[in-house]
Amino acid sequence: MNFDKELDARGLNCPLPILRCKKSLGELGAGQVLKIVATDPGAIKDFEAFAKQTGNELLSSAQAGGEFTFFMKKK
């Protein structure tokens, strides 16, 4: 998937992945896509909840080898 910016949140724990994501989205324009890679198992639910509450769109969420990859489209 194409993306405009990548956020490496590996090794970070709650609530840092969400806080970094918010900050990174702030540097993007509407419609641009942020790729996030995290290792916090709580991140799956958290990114879903973040998207739902902020109106940014979670395009996909995938898990492979202990890493979670999300694509978030800025509102």
Binding site: G11, N13, P15, F50, T54
Partner: protein
């Protein structure tokens, strides 16, 4: 949609209990909430310029796992429970527990209290210190970080009265 509001009262002044108010406040701010934290009694320690006053005490806290943040896995798994009476007489036990807790925090990729607090401030979380307890405990405004407001219970209710979520931590 109107912006949601979160009001938090922070009353505890230890390293472990510094986390709930700052984690919830920073996360709520990231979710576009307007957030205020009212620091009162021991919670005032969380807004000191010098955060080295924050310690953790395993004494009288049977829920606290006492595990070592280093060494091989089997060693890390051991729970070093110690009777209260023994904890109480070992000089420096609290400082040792604090050092180990800080190490565990950084091993787990958990933010420091200092960083979380800074992130709250960056996200415009409003910090209010209870003026009455500032005086009661003999503090001076110069003990606290910049950007604090000093007020009383009525000021808290002005914000909390129409908040969507109100927490006591």
């Amino acid at each position: 949609m109107d912006q949601k509001k979160l009001a938090i009262i922070a009353t505890k002044g230890t390293l472990d209990w510094a986390y709930p108010p700052f984690i919830l406040a920073s996360t709520a701010a990231a979710l576009d909430y307007s957030v205020e934290i009212f620091f009162t009694f021991y919670g005032l320690q969380l807004v000191r310029k010098d955060l080295s006053v924050l310690k953790v005490s395993p004494l009288g806290n049977p829920g606290m796992p006492m595990k070592m943040p280093f060494g091989p896995k089997w060693f890390r798994g051991i729970n070093w429970n110690m009777p209260n009476a023994i904890q109480a007489i070992i000089p420096g036990y609290e400082s040792l527990a604090t050092v180990l807790m800080k190490r565990t925090i950084s091993n787990n990729g958990v933010a420091t209290v200092h960083d979380l607090r800074a992130m709250c401030q960056e996200a415009d979380v409003k910090f209010i210190a209870c003026q009455m307890t500032v005086e009661l405990f003999g503090f001076d405004h110069s003990n606290f970080i910049d950007g604090m407001e000093y007020a009383g219970a009525a000021a808290f209710f002005e914000f909390a009265g129409d908040s969507d979520i109100c927490l006591y931590t």
